[in-house]
């Protein structure tokens, strides 16, 4: 480690034009108490495609990283507070709130983000957290579903993630989840659009490199929803996928589509072993 740092410095001195590449060696502890796993051995199913899985946190500038270490600085937590109000507010024809069925989120929701998307045998489909929330709204509360990745939905997703922070991501990819995993994997390696770029071209082959001003990460989703300094709100996973595919000059998919649900499972599984980190702070 020490040696690597020294060679890196030597290389920088020799070639001052080179960028400092790769993930940094910083350690993430939130609120001085939640110790986060931001680097982990790659899960076996990645089959050597990556040696190590790394949270997007490591690719951000120090000032951005810092914002995530304290809930008072993490502006994503403002939206979590809004979601807490929502959690406790009755909605729909049944006059029920989330709290009426689930109590306190920290008591009953801590494992949700780590294990979703998850196959629901009653519904007969793979469900993301947002799909599960809408099932509760429409079938148990008599309320309207939230539009996929709308503010209310992403804020609630962030509340649920926040109470699971530090838990290792551990989505199941076998059994009924397997076909979704395979579909998502196929998408991950498909070179979409006029630029013919796949997720893997940028996030597997080139993480650590700069593409213009952007320092490419592994495109992990353990930190979602992300609070982005760029748009000052919480951003959903599938909206991020949409943006990345659009940037290949492709016809993208929509948040909530079957394709993106499958892709979410696959990308989430690439981060099995990393801590749930949402709401994270990114640029």
């Amino acid at each position: 480690m020490k040696f690597k740092a020294m060679t890196a410095i030597a290389a920088l001195l020799l070639a001052p034009a080179a960028f400092a590449g790769g993930a940094d060696d910083d350690v993430l502890v939130i609120n001085g108490e939640i110790e986060m796993t931001t680097k982990a051995d790659a899960p076996a199913h990645l089959d050597g495609a990556l040696d190590q899985v790394i949270s997007g946190w490591h690719f951000r500038a120090d000032e951005t990283q810092q914002l995530e270490t304290d809930d008072f600085e993490n502006q994503g937590m403002i939206f979590v507070d809004q979601a807490i109000d929502q959690w406790n507010t009755a909605a729909g024809s049944e006059g029920k709130s989330c709290a009426d069925c689930h109590g306190a989120p920290e008591d009953n929701m801590a494992m949700v983000t780590a294990t979703y998307p998850k196959y629901d045998s009653d519904a007969g489909e793979l469900q993301t957290v947002q799909m599960q929330m809408n099932e509760c709204r429409t079938e148990r509360m008599g309320a309207d579903p939230w539009k996929y990745d709308s503010g209310a939905a992403v804020n609630m997703e962030a509340l649920i993630a926040s109470v699971g922070r530090g838990t290792p991501v551990q989505v199941a990819i076998d059994g009924d989840a397997a076909p979704y995993y395979e579909q998502g994997k196929e998408m991950y390696y498909t070179r979409y659009g006029q630029l013919e770029l796949s997720c893997a071209n940028c996030h597997e082959e080139n993480f650590g490199n700069y593409i213009r001003a952007d320092h490419l990460s592994q495109g992990q989703i353990n930190g979602f929803p992300t609070y982005r300094l760029k748009n000052a709100k919480l951003n959903g996973v599938q909206s991020r996928f949409k943006g990345c595919i659009r940037d290949t000059r492709a016809e993208t998919f929509s948040p909530g589509s079957d394709e993106f649900v499958a892709l979410e499972l696959y990308v989430k599984s690439r981060g099995n072993g990393l801590s749930v980190e949402g709401p994270s702070v990114r640029n």
Binding site: Y210, A213, R249, T252
Partner: protein
């Protein structure tokens, strides 16, 4: 290697010149790539303009080459990318024919490369209408015109150790 590329290029000249006598420019689907991916003659039938090529290279809505490649000579272009190799010496290390082939369709020179093809119109998966995220309407024009490819090649040829 170098020798075969040149030999292939020479044998191509006749065919390409023939196509050009009709239209002036070679259509994307008619470009003749040599064995190693080189393209022998100007796609537009005209010489390239290096100054314009520099603009194409650095502008997002055109080549946007700088998002992936650094060029030391472009001192006023910030945030040069590192996905592809640095191109500071392209004018010495590559011939005009090789550079033309790489810019037109780098996949003919480097199997499976990340680098996009700039003078190609079909074979895409879910082609979009620019960066709108919407489906392309009808056939897409190539990302760069024949003349823009020539201009970029002319620019790359100026990149030498100074």
């Amino acid at each position: 290697m170098r020798l075969t590329a040149i030999a292939a290029a020479v044998t191509l000249v006749a065919g390409v010149a023939h196509a050009e006598s009709h239209s002036g420019a070679v259509a994307p689907e008619d470009v003749q790539y040599g064995e190693t991916g080189a393209v022998a003659t100007s796609l537009s039938g005209m010489p390239g303009d290096a100054a314009n090529g520099q603009v194409v290279f650095s502008t997002k809505s055109m080549g946007n080459c700088v998002s992936c490649h650094a060029v030391a000579q472009l001192t006023d272009v910030p945030f040069q990318g590192e996905v592809g190799p640095e191109l500071t010496w392209s004018g010495e290390s590559r011939s005009e024919e090789e550079l033309r082939g790489i810019v037109a369709n780098a996949k003919m020179s480097f199997d499976g490369t990340v680098m996009p093809a700039f003078y190609k119109t079909n074979g895409y998966i879910r082609p979009g209408n620019g960066y709108t995220g919407k489906a392309a309407e009808g056939d897409l024009p190539p990302i760069l015109t024949a003349q823009q490819v020539e201009d970029v090649v002319a620019f790359l040829l100026t990149l030498k150790e100074q």
